[in-house]
């Protein structure tokens, strides 16, 4: 057992990586799903044990192939990436029990082996990009996750051919983002001669005025901004989330953009450090206005959507705005809000997209007209939407409230009270689009020609309700999440980690 824990950092990534090709050799039936489920649960277990190790005894550094950093590749686990690993693997562990029926319904049965292979590769890429302490390695892993994500989105083509153009659009923009990111890394490497993040952080401070470093910084922020769908670079997101199979939307919406936010945090605070002149300017003149625009335009666009998956996809753009706003505030409370919201938003959107997957299983397309009157026929599913919707709005006793509370604290700490007012105002927009769904589902009359609809199966409702309960549990007892997030924020602003 000690062997297992000693190598946990490597196993966290290596086990999903090995299982992906094995999965592609499996033929049909339940086997690929079962393998993906087992691996996800192992990854969840690994990330819990890593987080415990980090909180107990400090950062973990694992040298790949026993090559010492900065020459070899180092896996470096500290509080923040252990926390992000926990989010990714936790969502995957809950999403997979839910996945079997949903995927069987939406994806061609002959393709299940390949579907779960792409899923496992995506999981590997997200976990690897988070855990690694090597800047170029981040790029490689993010490409693994992105390439497999394009395939996963395209798997929705059986339901709706538009999934193919959505995936293609995502491919083009995702590749542009990745290219910008790797150009940025290349520029930093050119000047410093190192790719190790800890080493970069030590070598960069004397190079503040170097033009190549400044350009590298800009390339990295823009590249990752595209990947995390920062407004106005979010255009790939709504279509990709809308036309992907339900399980894929659940997984990607809760994890993929979060990893990009993590990478931005890592570069802003660990590599460049808050004292780097550009960072402060970026916060005030780029992140702050863009975040506020995202909050309002994302929410406003969500109000006008008729496809519910698209509605929540636009709402994700707005929610990512909150995360960027937390960074822009640049103080401990703001950063705590960002890190908390990584977790909290994964819970809300995970629950909401799972519920939409349940609806899709029963009635096909999830449009606002299609769900009229469904609240009475699928009470558990729509109660879940209502619960997670409250969390999205930020009603007290839900996780959404905790995130917004810290955001407002951060804004007031800077004396930016108009920002605090805007946070509350944008939450009111969320009330409108959540209410739209509730109204249609509970007060609308069933459309002509729809037969009786039965409630979603327990196999899908159980993971869904687990997420909904988590939304309230971590909203009422936020000690665990806030303490980790607070600790992370303090290390970031305390200069390096």
């Amino acid at each position: 057992m000690s062997l297992l824990f000693e190598h946990m950092a490597a196993l966290q990534v290596a086990v999903p990586l090995l299982s992906a090709p094995v999965c592609s050799l499996l033929r049909g039936g339940r086997q690929p799903w079962f393998l993906a489920l087992a691996v996800s649960w192992f990854a969840f277990f690994a990330s819990i044990s890593l987080l415990i190790q980090v909180l107990d005894s400090g950062d973990i550094s694992y040298h790949m192939g026993n090559w010492a950093p900065p020459f070899g590749i180092e896996y470096r686990v500290d509080a923040i990436n252990a926390f992000v690993l926990l989010i990714i693997s936790g969502i995957s562990a809950v999403a997979l029990p839910y996945a079997r029926l949903s995927v069987a319904h939406e994806v061609d049965p002959r393709r299940h082996g390949q579907f779960y292979t792409a899923y496992l590769l995506c999981l590997t890429g997200l976990l690897g990009g988070t855990i690694t302490g090597d800047a170029f390695n981040i790029f490689v892993f993010l490409e693994i996750s992105s390439l497999s994500a394009y395939v996963l989105v395209a798997a929705g083509a059986r339901q709706d051919r538009r999934a193919l153009t959505a995936a293609y659009n995502y491919l083009v923009l995702g590749t542009v983002g990745a290219t910008f990111f790797v150009i940025g890394i290349g520029l930093l490497y050119m000047v410093t001669g190192t790719l190790n993040i800890t080493d970069l952080a030590e070598r960069l401070p004397p190079l503040v005025d170097n033009r190549a470093v400044q350009a590298g910084f800009a390339f990295i922020i823009v590249g990752m901004g595209l990947k995390l769908a920062m407004f106005p670079m979010h255009t790939w997101l709504p279509n990709a989330y809308t036309y992907a199979p339900s399980t894929v939307t659940v997984f990607l919406a809760s994890t993929a953009t979060k990893v990009s936010v993590y990478v931005v945090l890592r570069f802003l605070f660990t590599v460049f450090g808050p004292s780097y002149g550009f960072v402060g300017l970026t916060f005030e003149y780029i992140f702050l206005p863009l975040a506020i625009l995202a909050m309002f335009i994302g929410s406003a666009a969500a109000i006008y959507q008729t496809n519910l998956k698209r509605l929540f996809a636009y709402s994700s753009v707005a929610q990512l705005g909150y995360m960027v706003l937390g960074i822009a505030l640049g103080n401990v409370a703001g950063l705590t809000a960002t890190v908390l919201h990584l977790f909290n938003h994964a819970l809300m959107k995970g629950a909401l997209f799972m519920a939409l997957g349940c609806v899709a299983l029963r009635i096909g397309a999830v449009s606002i007209n299609g769900v009229r009157g469904l609240g009475r026929e699928m009470p558990w599913t729509f109660a879940a939407i209502a619960g997670a919707g409250l969390s999205l709005i930020g009603v007290p006793s839900t996780v959404g409230f905790i995130s917004k509370w810290y955001l407002i604290l951060g804004a007031l700490e800077n004396g930016w009270w108009p920002v605090a007012v805007l946070i509350v105002a944008s939450s009111l927009l969320a009330v409108i689009y959540v209410w739209k769904i509730i109204e249609a589902a509970y007060f609308g009359a069933a459309p002509e020609g729809r037969g009786p609809v039965s409630e979603a199966p327990l196999e899908m409702l159980a993971p869904l309700w687990l997420m909904v309960v988590a939304n309230f549990y971590f909203g009422i007892d936020a000690d665990l999440t806030t303490s980790v997030a607070g600790k992370v924020a303090a290390t970031f602003l305390g200069g390096g980690s």
Binding site: H7, A10, A14, P21, S24, Y62, T117
Partner: protein, 145 residues
């Protein structure tokens, strides 16, 4: 069957040497220029040349898609299992030092096996991509050239 006589004869002569050169690049990669990626592409190019000259259907009989679907993941599995062997034999993940009696032999063995995995996957992927494109349109009739 008398078309492209020169092409047929020359490619028949060349293919064995291309394969041999690919194997040389593969197994000499740890000391000279080369390695699994380059070797894999070379190896695949021999099959692609064969398919171009003698037709995709003949090539599919030599190297069926079913075999490719098996070979693509197997290369990656070889790579990953070498990594795990490092852990099992008391080192870190992908640690080659512990694979043989001394670090020098271990490094040698490790890189050889890893590159073999890379070569397998790359060659199989290259041919798969070629088949995917070549299989899209109907084969051009021999008379229509």
């Amino acid at each position: 069957m008398k078309h492209h006589l020169i092409l047929r004869v020359v490619s028949k002569l060349l293919i064995p040497f291309i394969l041999l050169f690919a194997l040389y690049v593969q197994f000499h990669g740890d000391y000279g220029p080369g390695g699994g990626f380059q070797a894999g592409v070379l190896f695949a190019s021999a099959f692609i040349l064969y398919a171009l000259i003698f037709g995709v259907d003949n090539a599919r009989e030599v190297l069926p898609s079913k075999a490719l679907r098996f070979l693509v993941p197997v290369g990656l599995i070889i790579y990953a299992l070498t990594g795990f062997a490092g852990i099992v034999m008391g080192g870190k993940f992908l640690d080659y030092d512990v694979l043989a009696q001394d670090p020098q032999h271990g490094q040698h063995l490790g890189i050889l096996v890893i590159e073999f995995g890379v070569g397998t996957t790359v060659a199989a992927v290259m041919v798969t991509i070629f088949y995917a494109y070549a299989g899209r349109t109907r084969d051009v009739d021999d008379e229509d050239w």
